[in-house]
Symmetry: C2
Subunit: 146 residues, 2 copies
DNA sequence: ATCAGTGCAAACGATTTGCACCTCG
DNA sequence: CGAGGTGCAAATCGTTTGCACTGAT
């Protein structure tokens, strides 16, 4: 009966809302904003109402425990959260329609980034590509005046 | 007498505040936040007081004209502006002291990123490295519990 | 002189915090 | 039962906007 519980670190209470936030993040195919998580968690909770501040607090705790990572989209500064699974994903972001296309693999897999940075020890990285997606190219875009 | 004026695109008034914001960006060695720009511009203006909203508006115009680019630090979502010079810079960011160390070169210079992205045309990219800088390593850091 | 640009203050959205109540363990 | 978690509302921070005034052309 306590099977979902086992993935959870000790010393943190396994409440209904935390359970749901965690489940939402598990289901998510991409990083989510606190507000998205908030709505999805409420839906999971079958209509029960949560406080947005609670979501923020839960996410802060999860981050502190190393369960999730918090980053911003470079384009607009929107903060998003995602579960710390083993792998990580980068995105190509269309400047026209703002769609995000996950990259099939991390371009840094075979690059020795970890050196030549003057004593800096690299433990992670984040990359975003910008450009125009298949669909938006068709509409004759490619320049960047408005 | 109008020598600084020539770098400026037409159709936009070359006011004192715009002149100073532009000069601040020229002098800057790294991307700056609107508030930083605001303070630096006031200093340039020899103590004259500017409205922060004016800075925001000027930056918006500059961005629209393609003179500056606006991006967020991935780590914290802080929006920063920098002059669109030819080159671009990436940073290694220390997770401990939050110092930013510019990378000596763009690791993508010799990588064919522009393909294998399923019809997506890449026009730009942003990269941030995370880790621990020389100084913070000394203090025996390297794990990430608090 | 005209219209774009500015300053000021209010509005706004995202995030944080204080406090009283609730609940997991 | 008690510490920690939650809800609610107010506070805070970064950014935007409306409006009347000023200044560049």
């Amino acid at each position: 009966m306590n099977d979902e519980k086992r993935e959870f670190p000790q010393g943190i209470r396994w409440t209904k809302q935390r359970k749901n936030v965690y489940a939402v993040l598990q289901d998510a195919g991409e990083p989510l904003t606190p507000v998205q998580i908030y709505h999805l968690a409420e839906r999971l909770a079958d209509g029960e109402e949560y406080a947005l501040s609670t979501i923020y607090r839960i996410l802060a705790v999860f981050e502190e425990k190393g369960m999730v990572s918090k980053t911003a989209w470079i384009g607009d500064g929107t903060m998003v959260y995602e579960l710390n699974r083993g792998e990580h994903t980068h995105y190509a972001i269309c400047l026209e329609c703002h769609k995000r296309i996950p990259l099939p693999h991390c371009p840094f897999a075979h690059i020795a980034l970890e050196k030549d940075t003057d004593g800096f020890v690299v433990t992670g990285h984040k990359l975003e590509l910008y450009g125009y997606c298949k669909d938006c190219r068709k509409e004759g875009i490619g320049e960047n005046q408005e």
